[in-house]
């Protein structure tokens, strides 16, 4: 990778770019909270990836098609399957992320009795 703006064919025709500092940004008031939120997103992404793979495996098994690596990798869901999986995904996202919207927190030991108002 060239550092002077020149292009280096040996490195895929790249030249050096100034890096982003986005990983240093604190949005949630505390760097640990930001780090946790970022890590959480990666874990949720991985979990959905596993669920998708499970759906593909089940689809192959239920259609009695051979379950090979190639069959898994090249599988394309039917329009009905795709729509159902998207609904499932959106519910999955909502279940995970809705709690982050809560803004009316009560410090539990500072509340001596339930106030329905």
């Amino acid at each position: 990778m060239s550092s002077d703006g020149g292009v280096d064919p040996k490195k895929g025709y790249t030249t050096q770019a100034h890096p982003s500092d986005i990983d240093r940004a604190v949005f949630l008031g505390d760097q640990h909270a930001d780090n946790m939120y970022s890590a959480f997103m990666v874990m949720a992404t991985e979990l959905w990836s596993l669920r998708r793979r499970q759906k593909v495996l089940e689809a192959l098994l239920s259609s009695r098609r051979p379950v090979t690596l190639e069959a898994i990798e090249t599988f394309i869901p039917s329009p009905e399957q795709a729509a159902a999986w998207q609904r499932d995904r959106d519910q999955f996202v909502k279940a995970i992320y809705d709690p982050f919207l809560r803004r009316d927190g009560v410090i539990y030991h500072e509340s001596l009795r339930f106030d329905p108002s």
């Binding site: 002077d4 790249t14 050096q16 949005f27 999955f92 992320y97």
Partner: protein
Amino acid sequence: MLDRRTVLAGSAAGALALPLAGAKAAKVAAPIDRGAIGTFRRMPSADAEARLDFLWGLENYNETVQAPAAERSALARIKAQGIDPAKPMPMAQAVALLGPDPSIALRHKTYLDTERLKMTVVRDAYAADEPYHIAAMDKAMARGPGSLTLDPDFKVPDYARHELHMQPGGYVGDPFAGAVFRHAITGLSSGHNFQNETHESLVSVAPVPADGRVMRTLDLGCGTGQIVSAMHKRFPAAEIWGVDTSAPMLRFAHMEASEFGRPLHFSQQSAEALRFPDGHFDMVTASGLFHEISDTATRRILSEVARVLRPGGTFFPLDLNTGAPIGQDVRSQFGAWLSYRWFHEDWRLGYTAIDLPAQMRAVGLDVAEKGAVLKLHGHEMANMIATKPV
């Protein structure tokens, strides 16, 4: 990321001999060909595709749930301060007012993390089979139809050498910048645009010269060639060109075009000093280019546009609105700051300050403004049409 394919690929994939740049031919393991859906090549692995699927879902949630919550919170804050939401406000004051709000912070944290993770997912998927994918782009360089011209002595302008949109390596520092951009930009359209329909829609309203003659067209800052492809679809008999400063983008664009049989011509050159004759093109386009580059470069590029257009030729710059007092209100100021500071649109503020139609007139083009009716990735685009006088 650990990918199941990397563990299992050896038992399932064959080996393919492909020439490597600067090295003798080597055996390169070929990943399973996952094919294309229409004109969109699928991600290299099912797991990576599934990861993107989740992130598109999260992106949609961010837009439909978190963003409205942030908007309500912003309005409440503005109202509490007794401020007119439409009144101009200095950027620093807007950031101080809205920045601390937890709903606004959450909306933008999610957005930026989602974008960054999408890019990382794509980058990792290609890097898992790096020798194969590099060799595939190398092999495609001499393949037609169409052409790819890279300049061995090219110096990338400073304004292009940063991690624009937080993309790892930016547009110029990562050999897979094209793949990352191509898949991530689709994601920016919330999982749509697989068949380039967004860009085809924009190109469908590009103005044709009054005499109807379209023999050659040029797209500036063409990236992975989505506008170029759409221009070819609309004008199949024309010679279609795209230029960009990023070789990795052009390599991906050309590989994709040749794979799908599109006779497109890509060339690495600066739009500030085009290597085309005077009056060479009937139409010139630029999609989202000017708000990503310096205002100095913008002025030089507009001069080049005026030079390479033939009399009666049209220029269709799709870009954000410019010129005061557009976007001076508190929420626009906050959004512009966020794009500049953390989304790394480093030249966004300079672009907002210039008056693009006035700059186009300054280089001798006739300009018509039709108002912001076009959208690209959720942003309103200024609908400007310029014509070189006959």
